[in-house]
């Protein structure tokens, strides 16, 4: 009887989830726009500082073990917020890239690269979050979010290329300086 109850509850939850996805999908199809506004800016310099192992090493040397664990947990929580924002931005960019795949071949190729980079980043963000939460329990373990930072840098490049192709009038100063 217990198995019956468990399986019926699991089946009901699964059905609710599947139907919920269907409703969300139809709403998404009818809304469509407003994606670009969902992107949240991320302070990469601060993010880089948080994931820098030398910073951690410095803090480890300067603080007592108890203080270090406290500070480390705070840094890990901040890092988790950054990774979540990066992951959410990647999700928005996946949809923007998919929408841009209808243009000319150069734009389509740029959009495809953007989607690829964004998917990789979203994947890395999920793994990084998992490792950050594990590190919250064991603050002395190694760091996890570096691939997310590197992925975010690649994603920035891909998004800027697509932005330039879609919107050539926008000033993209960096290209002039490189």
């Amino acid at each position: 009887m217990t198995i019956a109850i468990l399986l019926v509850i699991a089946a009901a939850l699964a059905l609710a989830f599947i139907l919920g996805i269907t409703v969300a999908r139809s709403l998404q199809i009818s809304s469509g726009s407003g994606l670009a506004g969902q992107i949240q800016p991320l302070d990469i310099e601060a993010f880089r500082n948080l994931v820098d192992p030398r910073e951690d090493e410095y803090l480890r040397r300067r603080l007592t073990a108890a203080e270090f664990r406290l500070v480390r947990r705070e840094r890990l929580r901040a890092m988790a917020s950054y990774v979540q924002v990066a992951g959410r931005n990647a999700a928005v960019l996946v949809r923007m890239g998919q929408a841009a795949m209808t243009g000319d071949s150069q734009t389509t190729e740029a959009a495809r690269r953007l989607v690829d980079s964004a998917l990789m980043l979203r994947r890395n963000a999920a793994f990084a979050l998992l490792r950050i939460y594990i590190a919250l329990a064991w603050p002395n373990s190694g760091l996890a979010a570096l691939p997310v930072l590197q992925g975010y840098e690649r994603l920035n490049g891909a998004a800027m290329l697509l932005g330039r192709l879609q919107n050539p009038a926008a000033p993209v100063r960096i290209s002039a300086q490189l």
Binding site: L7, V8, S33, D116, L119, M120, N167, A170, I174
Partner: protein, 256 residues
């Protein structure tokens, strides 16, 4: 009305399978067979199997033992093809995204293994629902396959939702139908196998299963044959201020 072998019962058993055969013909005619060859095979084999089972049920010359043998054979073939259909949809959805297709395959293989183990454990702890091994075994097999099916389908929906991948309409419809049918069937088989319902309750659960399957066949009709709303897929421009933010960040990276 809500009795075994009533008109409603017979209708729910036969009609969805006739609809499935019509769907197979339309899939063939509309050239969807190249895109969904395994689903096409599933519709034909499943419908043929269920119609054979219905014929065995109403034919006085078929012994109960032979009826359950046909039931076992139909169940095994249907289950096998359902998993192949899920694999076909999974490949179609992930094909345009090589960066995560390997991850998807690894995860679904791991999850599949875990679900098989869970289904075997659930079957081992189930009480069974009859004195006859052949009937009880068929019901346990139903419970096990629907457990695995629900798990894999939910995973696929989760995976696509997490990565914000786009569904093509027919793939979505096929998986939606399989998912709804699997959830309802899992619940009913779990009750039938473990909760010792009365004969009348069994008939009601059977009717619920058959009605759900009928609805799912109609879902497949809708998603495979009715064209979707045409949404102008206009590229979402990257806003200038967004580009400015990225410019700033990139400049700081290059020229710290």
């Amino acid at each position: 009305m809500l009795q075994a072998h009533s008109f409603l019962w017979n209708y729910f058993w036969v009609a969805p399978n006739l609809f499935l055969l019509v769907l197979a013909i339309l899939i063939w005619k509309r050239d969807l067979r190249r895109q969904f060859p395994i689903f096409l095979a599933f519709t034909i084999l499943s419908a043929a199997g269920q119609l054979a089972l219905f014929s065995a049920d109403v034919s006085p010359s078929v012994t109960p033992e032979n009826f359950w043998r046909i039931d076992w054979a139909t169940l095994l073939i249907e289950s096998f093809f359902k998993f192949l259909v899920i694999g076909e949809i999974f490949s179609r959805v992930l094909k345009p995204y090589p960066s995560i297709s390997r991850l998807g395959r690894i995860l679904v293989s791991g999850l599949g293994g875990a679900l098989v183990l869970a289904a075997v454990l659930a079957a081992a702890y189930s009480r069974g629902d009859g004195a006859f091994q052949v009937i009880s075994g068929a019901h346990l097999l139903d419970q096990a396959t629907f457990m695995i099916e629900v798990g894999v389908v939910v995973f696929l929906f989760l995976f696509v939702a997490y990565f914000r991948l786009t569904w093509d309409r027919p793939s979505y419809g096929v998986l939606l139908g399989l998912g709804i049918s699997a959830c309802v069937h899992l619940a009913t088989w779990a009750v039938m196998t473990n909760a010792a319902p009365t004969a009348h309750q069994r008939v009601l659960l059977d009717l619920l299963n058959m009605a759900t399957y009928h609805a799912c066949v109609l879902v497949w009709f809708y998603y495979l044959l009715v064209p979707g709303k045409v949404v102008a897929k206009s590229p979402v421009p990257l806003l200038e201020n967004t580009l400015d933010v990225w410019n700033r960040e990139l400049e700081r990276l290059v020229h710290p």
